[in-house]
Structure formats: structure tokens, C-alpha cells
């Protein structure tokens, strides 16, 4: 397998692409996001699956993002996502609100190749008035039972960081099986990993359950500590001090520029 780095993957992401981004606690593509900022990506449409944190806030702050669909945005315990809030206030971000299971359901519909999937709940929420792409129908199986239908949503590209890849292009996400749904639903997946291991993880019965087949993965790059400042399963813990520092700096444009200079442009992928 050719060795690539996060910058090489970022080069494969076209401006304007719809990108699925897992949140801070679920193999988030932090190194890839920094690489996208470095390459000056523009007009990206982000989908937080199902919520958003550091990665989306960083990309919004750096001016890479035209729209963000998400169910919530926060930097974990550090509070609201400051650059997203600032862009919203400035009117430079198109924020499309959803609710967590709706995002899962839209991806599951794409995974299954069906044009829509129903979801209980949500009726009575003002979300509906702001989602013309969502429909309420009468349950065809039971009269007088309104139910929400959600359209399939296939991201152009899923970005995430996994523990390892193998020589066959499979990637290991362990218990974070929700990443499989994202990879299945997306047209392409670009994945950074801590390391590449020999052999084929899908042929190893002890590893297969936590492995996403290479059939869904377009390219892999090695990015040690590529989820940082988020944690990675039991490999490394979340760097809560860094996230708190980020959240504090990102409260102002100057502070955010300072953050970019110190941790992104000048290389901050490992600490």
C-alpha cells in the first residue's frame, strides 16, 4: 500500500464536497482537518455525525466551510463551539439543524440504498418547519398515525481516524462500529490511522468484528495521534487541557488566528 500522509488525503477532498465528520469522542479526523486548513479548502459542506466539536469548529473558523448540518455543536466540557457560533452570528455559515437519530437514519437509508427511511418522534419539533427535505406522511400500515420520513443522505466523503489499517486497505475502528455505517453511506472514505499492520484484518477472527472492509475505503494515510486532541479508544486519552485552551483562544478571531499559527500551520498534529 503506498504510504501517504494527511496532506495527501486532504488533496483528494475537492472544495464544496459534503463531508461526514464523526464527533470528538468517536475517531474524529483532527489531523485531516488540520491538513484541510493548511491546503486552504473552501466551501466545504460538513455533516456532523451526529454532533460536532473541535474538528468542525476548526474548519469553520478557518473559513473552509459553507454549511454545517449537525444536531449540536460543543467542545465537550469546554462549552459551546466558539467559531461556529461566531460564523452563525456573522451570517457566514449556513447552519442546518437536525436531531441525532435523524442523521443516523439518513445515513442508514443511504447505506441500504433506499430513498428514505422513517423515524419515530420529532413531530411537534420546530426542526420540521426548517427541514423542507423532511416529510411527514400517514403510516401506510396504520390509519391516523403520522410519521416522519427522512431522505437518504450519502456524503461525498467520510473522513475519520482509525487505529490501524492493513495491507488490504481495511481499517480497524474497534467498538466504534458506527463508523462502518458512515463509511457504507458515503461515496468515498478517506482515513488516517496510527499505523499500518501486515496481513488482512478481515481474515483474523479476533479483529474482523471491529474492521471496516477496504471496499469502502478509497485511501489511507498514516497520521500518528491523528485524533488529537481527541482520544482514541484505549490508545490515548482526550487532551482536555488542549481542548479547553482551544475553546478559550477560539472565542476571539485573534485568539483563533494564534491557535492556527501555533497548532495547525506550523504543524501541531502530535504533541
Amino acid at each position: 500500500m503506498p504510504r501517504r500522509d494527511a496532506d495527501a488525503l486532504a488533496a483528494r477532498v475537492p472544495d464544496g464536497a459534503l463531508l461526514a465528520i464523526p464527533p470528538d469522542n468517536s475517531l474524529t479526523p483532527a489531523a485531516l482537518a488540520r491538513a484541510l486548513v493548511k491546503r486552504g479548502a473552501h466551501g466545504l459542506r460538513l455533516l456532523g455525525v451526529p454532533v460536532s466539536g473541535y474538528v468542525c469548529d476548526l474548519l469553520v473558523g478557518a473559513g473552509c466551510v459553507a454549511s454545517l448540518q449537525t444536531s449540536a455543536a460543543s467542545i465537550g466540557e469546554a462549552g459551546l463551539a466558539p467559531r461556529i457560533a461566531a460564523a452563525l452570528a456573522a451570517g457566514t455559515l449556513d447552519l442546518i439543524d437536525a436531531t441525532c437519530p435523524a442523521i443516523h437514519t439518513m445515513l442508514q437509508a443511504a447505506e441500504k440504498g433506499v430513498p428514505f427511511m422513517p423515524l419515530r418522534g420529532v413531530l411537534g419539533s420546530d426542526l420540521l418547519a426548517h427541514r423542507p427535505d423532511w416529510r411527514v406522511i400517514d403510516n401506510p400500515f396504520q390509519p391516523d398515525d403520522p410519521i416522519l420520513l427522512l431522505p437518504a443522505l450519502a456524503p461525498d466523503i467520510a473522513l475519520f481516524h482509525a487505529l490501524c489499517a492493513d495491507e488490504a486497505g481495511n481499517v480497524y475502528v474497534g467498538r466504534r462500529r458506527e463508523l462502518a455505517t458512515i463509511a457504507h453511506a458515503a461515496r468515498r472514505s478517506l482515513v488516517t490511522v496510527e499505523r499500518v499492520v501486515p496481513g488482512n484484518l478481515l481474515e483474523d477472527e479476533a479483529m474482523a468484528a471491529g474492521t471496516i472492509s477496504g471496499v469502502y475505503i478509497e485511501a489511507v494515510a498514516v497520521a500518528p495521534r491523528g485524533a488529537w486532541p481527541s482520544g482514541l479508544l484505549d490508545t490515548y486519552q482526550t487532551d482536555t487541557a488542549h481542548l479547553a485552551e482551544y475553546a478559550k483562544l477560539a472565542r476571539t478571531e485573534e485568539g483563533f488566528a494564534d491557535y492556527l499559527a501555533r497548532f495547525v500551520v506550523d504543524g501541531g498534529e502530535t504533541t
Partner: protein, 251 residues
Amino acid sequence: MIRPEERLIGAIARLILDPSAPPARHIAVGAASPIPAAACWLVKLLGHDVRLSLLHQANGNPFTEGTRELFDLAGQGRIDLFFLGGGQIDGQANLNLIGTGAWPGRAARFPGSFGSAFMYLMVPRTILFREEHSPRVLVPRVDHISAPGVSPPGVFRRGTAQALVTGRCVFRFDPAAARFALASVHPGETADSVRAATGFDYDAPGAPPLTADPTADELALLRGPVRARMAATYPAFCRRVFGEDVEHSHG
């Protein structure tokens, strides 16, 4: 000395154990909810047969399909009780996690709806919790409804809010009337002080009782075994509320 947070934990634990409510065999707790999480641990360590699914806890994540598994569990009817809050909460128990001003929060943006629009309707019992009790938070009518407090007949809904616990009091919720009633006030508060701090109208039959303090046994559990189970996920909260750690057990 009993800390205010310990009293809130105790009050929530009593609501969980309310024998008049549907049974809570499986309780889920969302992220960044140390007080509800502590109440659940307290109930469990008091010896009640309850399963806890705590999102985002540092150890022992119970899921292999992320939050989708939580929502599917709720869809299956396997979650009996959940906790929600809101940037605004109104007198009909509508929740606003979107923001104020023009959609989607031009005046002030809240974090977003999370799974509230689903969970509030799918779970038989929801305990609302918001520490800040002010006219800013408890409003006559939320600017935007993330999740509705009640639903018209014909809408599939398994339950509503059971109660709203704030830093000042406990309200019970009557879904038939779509209205809160004051159930108890925390020490230092009165019927009048709560009324003055509340933006929505509610029932207040007679003089409200004081919210009961946790018992000595409950406090011992909170400061020992409960704290031990929460320290990895909420270290700052544990230090602030339970004081310096005196034991290191973690089982």
C-alpha cells in the same frame, strides 16, 4: 454540610424511585450530565436493580454502535428513563436547545437539539434538569421548540416529562393539563422566591414542602462509591462537589 449539588442529586434519585411512576429498569444519561449521572449511581448503589447506560463515560462505554445504539434502544422501548435540559424551558415543558431570536438562534445560539426531539417522545419518563432557575431560562413560551412537552392525540408518544428539577425547586409535570406544579422548594427558597424567578405560570397548591436532604447513608454513598465511579468522567465536578478524594477504590 450538604452541598446544593448533593441535594439535587438526592432529589433526582427520589424522582427516579417514585413508585407511582412507570418502572425505571434501564436509565440512560447523556453527555455532560454529572448530577443526573450521580443520581443514577446513587439509585443503583442503594441496591435497586437498575441498568445504567452512561454516554461518553470514560470507562465502560456500553455501546458498540455509538449513539445510534442508544436511540435504537429507545426506539425499541428498552430505555425507561432519560434526562433532558434546555436553554429555555416553558410552562408546557417545551424544550429549546436551538437558540433565541430568529432561527437558528440569531440572538443567542444554544448547542443544538441533540437527540431531544426523538428521546422526549420515545421514553416513558423524562426528568428535566436545569440548574439555572431564572426568568431567562424558564420562559412563558420557548422561542423555538426543539422537543415538544406534549403531543396531540394520534402522535406516537410513550411519555412526557415527569418533573423539572432546578437549582431552586422541584416541579412535577401533569401531561393532561400540560402544566407544572411546584412540588418542593430547596432550603433558602420560598413559594414567592420561586414564583419570582420563574417566567412561566404553574400550579402551587398550598405551602410547598422543603426538598428533603439526602440521608446520611446517601451522602456516604455519594462521597465514596458514587464519586469513585464518576471521577474518571467528571474529575472537576467530583473535586468541586465531593471535595478532595480520600479513597481510590474504583470498582
